[in-house]
Amino acid sequence: MVKRSPLHKRIIREIVGDLGKYLTIFILLVAMIGLASGYFVSIGSMITGYKEGFAKYNIENGNFTTRYEIRRSQKKAIEENGDRIYPIFYKDIPINNSITIRIVENRTEVNLISLMEGRLPTRNGEISIDRTFANNNQFKIGDILHSKTRDYEIVGFAAFSDYSALFSSNKDSMFDAILFGVGVISEEDFNNEEGEQVYRYAWKYANEPIDENEERELADEFVKRVRENVVLDDYNPRYLNQAIKFAGDDLGADSAAVHLFLYIMLVIMAFVFALTTADTITRDAGVIGTLRASGYTKRELILHYLTAPFLVTMVACLIGNIIGYTWLKNVMSNLYYNSYSLPYYPTLWNTEAFLETTISPIAIMIVISFIVLHRQLSITPLQFLRHDLSRKKQKRALRIPHGLRFLTRYRLRVILQNIPNYIILFIGLLLANILLMFGLGMPVTINHYQETIVDDLLATKQYILTIPASIDTESHALNNLIAMMEFQNAVETKTEGVEKFSAYSVETYNAVRQEDVLVYGVKSDSAYLKRKFEYGEVYISNACANKFKVDVGGTIQLKEHYDDKIYEFKVSGIYPYNSAVAVFMDQRYMNEVFDLGQDYFSGYFSNQEITDIDEKYIGSVIDEESLTKVSRQLNVSFGGFMSAMRIATFIIFFVLMYLLTKIIIEKNSQSISMVKIMGYSNNEIQKLYIRATTIVVIVEMLLCLPIATTLNRWMFDSYLSQRMTGYLPFYMPNWIYGRMMLMGLGAYAIVSIFEIYKIYHIPKTDALKNRE
C-alpha cells in the first residue's frame, strides 16, 4: 500500500491560509482559460460551419455582371464545358431615407439563404433581411421598411450565403453592415420595385477546383469565355470576392494572437506562482531543514510544493473550460456575429482547444514551478536550518555609493533584492500595455481618420462616371463611336464650379497586397488640388506611400485589371491624401500614358451636388459618407471588443501588481517587523518598501509606452497592408499615454492601499520569533 505523505494535509490549509493570493491567481487563470477556450471553441465551430456552408448553401464559384440580360445562346456558349451560370439579379433601393437594401428574389439553386428567425416572404409586401444588418439598425420582426415604391413588413432574419460580410461593392475598403443590407422579397415585388436592375450571374464550375491555384486558372479560363460572348461590366471570382471570403479569412486570423496572448500570460502566471512558492520555501526553511534532516527526500518535498500550484491550475482549467464552453463561447461568437452574417453553427467539441486550455497551462505551471523548486531545494538541510538559502556562498553585495541618501540606498537594495519580481512585472505590464494601447488607440485612430477625412477631401463630392461597357468593345468600332458621343453629351453638366478629371482604376503589382489604385489625371490649373502637377510628374497619396512603403524617388508598379499590362512610375512626390490609395498626375500625361484619348475625362470634382446627369452614368460618388464607411464599420465591429480589452488590461495590471508586491512585502516581513521595533513609523516603512516598488512601476510603465507604441504600430501596419483594402493612418495622441499611465498607476494605487494595510499589520513580534 502506498503511504500518503502527511504533508498533504497542510495543502488545503496553505491555500485557505493564503486565500488572497491563490484566489487572485485562480480568478485570473479561470478568466484567461475561459476566454481562450470560448474563443477557440466558437472560432473552431464557426470556421467549420463557414467551410461546410460552401457545399450546404451551394455558394457560387464567382459572379459577373453584364449590362443586359444574357440571351439563351450566350448562356449556352458560356456553359458549353459543363460550367453553370445562374441569374442572381438585384436592385439597390433606398430604405427609410438613409439606408440601402440590396433586394433579391429567393434563391433555390445557388447562394442559398439560411433563415435564422421568423420566415421567408410568402406574399407581396413582405421582406426578410440580413440578421446583422437588422441587428445594427435595431430592426425587429414586424417593423415596416419604407421604399420609394411601397412598404415592406419584416417577416424574418436570414444569412445570405454570398454576403457573409456585407460589402456592397468588392472595391470597398470595408464592408458596411450598418447602412447596407440585403433582403429577399417576392418575385412580383422585385419586378415592380423601382431602381436599376443589375444583371449579375453566379457561376459554378462543373468540378470544384482542388486548390486556389486551380481556382485561379479556372476563373481565368471562365472569364475569357464569358468575355468572348458578352460585354462584362464587372466580375469577381470567389477567391477575390470580399463579401464571401472576408469573414472566413478574418475568423481564423486572430487565432495566432490569442495563442500568443494565452501562452505569454500563462508563462507570466507560472512565474508569479513560482515566485510565491519560492517565498513560501523561504518562510518554511526551518521546517524543510528539519524534514530533510529527518529523511524526507528532495523529490517528496518538490512534489509537496508542486501540489498547490497544480491543484489551483487544474481546477482553474476545468472551470475555465466549463465557462468557455457554456457562456464565453457565445460572448466570443457574438463579437463576430455583430460584424458578419453567418448562419448559426452547432458547437463542436474541439480536442485541440481542450488540450491547449488544460494540458498546456498545467504543463507550463508544473515545468516552471519544478525548475524553480529544484533550484531552491538543492541546498543542504543544514543551510535550510540556518536559513542560509543563498546558493552562492560568497555573493558580493553590489556597491552603492555611500554618498547617496540613506533612504535612496535602502530603496535601491529593495529593488536589487526583487529584480526577478520586477522583470516578471515588466513583461506583464508590457503585455497589458500593448492590449490597452490597442483598446484605447483603435477607436481614436478610427475617429481621427473620420475627422481628418473631411479636411482631406479633394472636393465635397467626386463623381466617377460609368462609361458604358459597349464603348470599350473593340470589335464594334462604329457602335463604339456613337456610344462614346452619346455618353459625352449625356455627362455634360451645368453645375457651377465643377472640374473635369480623368480617373482610371488599376491594381497594385508586386506589392504586399493586390489592391485597387485610382489614378487621377487633373488639370494643370486645378482649383481642387493643393498643388500643380507638371507633365510627367507622378505623385502618390500619403495612404499609398505609407501602405506600400514607397517614397519619393522610388517606383510604383500598377497593372491593368483584366490584362497583363504593367505600368511603372517613378514617384516625384507624396500628395497629402490619406483617404485612398491613389496616384495623381497631369491629365494630359495620364490620358496619354493609359491611351485614353486627348479629351478623355471620367469624373467631376464638385463642391455642389450634380443633379443634371442621369444616375446611370454615375458609377460612384466619393464623399465624406462613402469614405467613412471603413471607420463606421470598424467602430461597430471593434466597439465592444475595445471596452472588454480595457477592462481586461486593468485586471491584469491589478493582479500582477498585487501578487508581485505582496511577495515583496511578505519576503521582507521580518525586516519590516524589526524596523518597527526600532522605532520606524509605518509611514517611514511604507516609504522604504512601497516607494521602491512605486518607482519601479513608474519606470516600467514609462518604458512600456515606446515599446508598446512600436509593437502596436507594427501590428497595425501588418494588418493594414495584408488584410485591409485602403488605408487608415495609425494615430496615437499624447493623452492616450496619459490615460495608460493613469490606468496603470490607478491599479497600482489600489494595490498600494492593500500593501500599506499589510505593512501596518505585520506584528512586531515577527522579529522576536526564534527562527532556529
Partner: protein
C-alpha cells in the same frame, strides 16, 4: 530612578488555557546601570523585556522612563518612545538581509537626529573589513556586532539585549560581552540584558532573578567582574 516598573502583570491565552507570565513586577533601574535579568525558560524575563521595549503591552501596572509614562502612550507615541530611548539586540541578530553591514548600522542612525559617528562605531566593533558585506557573508559573531552597532549608533538611553550570546560559542560570546561592556562604559547607556547564563550576572550592576513570573531576588554587585574574566 530612571526606569521605574510598578506592579506589571501580563497573561497569555483565555479561559482555562490562560497563563499568567508576569505576576506583579516591581523594579527600578538607575541611568547607566547594567542590569541582568536571569531566569529559566518561561520565567517571564523576555516578556518583561518586550514590555519595557514597548513592543508588548502589560495587562496592568506602570512603566515610567524619565518623565514618560508608557501606559498612557498610543501606538504612535510608543513608536516615538522606541525611536528616542531604545536600542534592541536579539539572539538571532535580525539584520536586514539585503543591506550591507554599514547600511544595517545606518538603519539605526537614520532614527536619530544626532547619531554617533558611523566610522567610529564600525571601528569600535571591528567591522572595517566587513562593512560592505551582506549578513549572509558574516559569521554569527560579526552579525551580532553589526546588530550592536545598529542598536547603539543612535546612542539610545536604554539598550535591551535579549540573549545576545545565546547563539554564539564561548569565545565569540565573550567578545560580544566585552563589546557591550565597552558600550556601557563609553556611552553610559542603561543596559538591560536577558540571559539564562548565570556567569554573566557578575559583570552587571544589578541582578534580577525571575521565576514563574515573579522577582525572586534583586542583588547589587558591589564589585563587578570584567567580561574578559568571566568563565562558564
Amino acid at each position: 530612578m530612571f526606569l521605574e516598573i510598578k506592579n506589571i502583570r501580563k497573561s497569555f491565552g483565555v479561559g482555562d488555557s490562560k497563563v499568567e507570565v508576569l505576576k506583579g513586577i516591581d523594579l527600578g533601574i538607575e541611568q547607566g546601570e547594567f542590569c541582568v535579568l536571569l531566569g529559566p525558560s518561561g520565567s517571564g524575563k523576555s516578556t518583561l523585556l518586550n514590555i519595557i521595549g514597548g513592543i508588548d503591552s502589560a495587562d496592568s501596572g506602570e512603566i515610567m522612563i524619565g518623565d514618560d509614562r508608557m501606559s498612557n502612550m498610543n501606538e504612535k507615541q510608543l513608536t516615538q518612545y522606541r525611536r528616542k530611548h531604545l536600542g534592541y539586540i536579539f539572539q538571532m541578530y535580525n539584520l536586514i538581509p539585503n543591506l550591507t553591514v554599514r547600511e544595517n548600522i545606518e538603519v539605526g542612525a537614520y532614527l536619530s537626529s544626532d547619531p554617533l559617528d558611523i566610522d567610529e562605531i564600525i571601528q569600535v566593533l571591528g567591522l572595517e573589513q566587513h562593512q560592505d558585506k551582506l549578513p549572509n557573508q558574516l559569521s554569527g559573531g560579526q552579525q551580532q556586532r553589526t546588530s550592536i552597532g545598529r542598536a547603539i549608533i543612535k546612542n539610545p538611553d536604554i539598550l535591551l539585549c535579549d540573549e545576545p550570546t545565546g547563539a554564539l560559542d564561548y569565545n565569540t560570546s565573550k567578545d560580544i560581552l566585552k563589546l557591550i561592556e565597552t558600550v556601557n562604559q563609553t556611552y553610559g547607556n542603561t543596559i538591560i540584558m536577558v540571559t539564562h547564563n548565570t556567569a554573566i550576572k557578575d559583570m552587571a550592576d544589578l541582578v534580577v532573578r525571575l521565576r514563574d513570573g515573579v522577582i525572586r531576588d534583586i542583588t547589587k554587585n558591589e564589585t563587578k567582574v570584567k567580561a574578559e574574566d568571566l568563565e562558564w
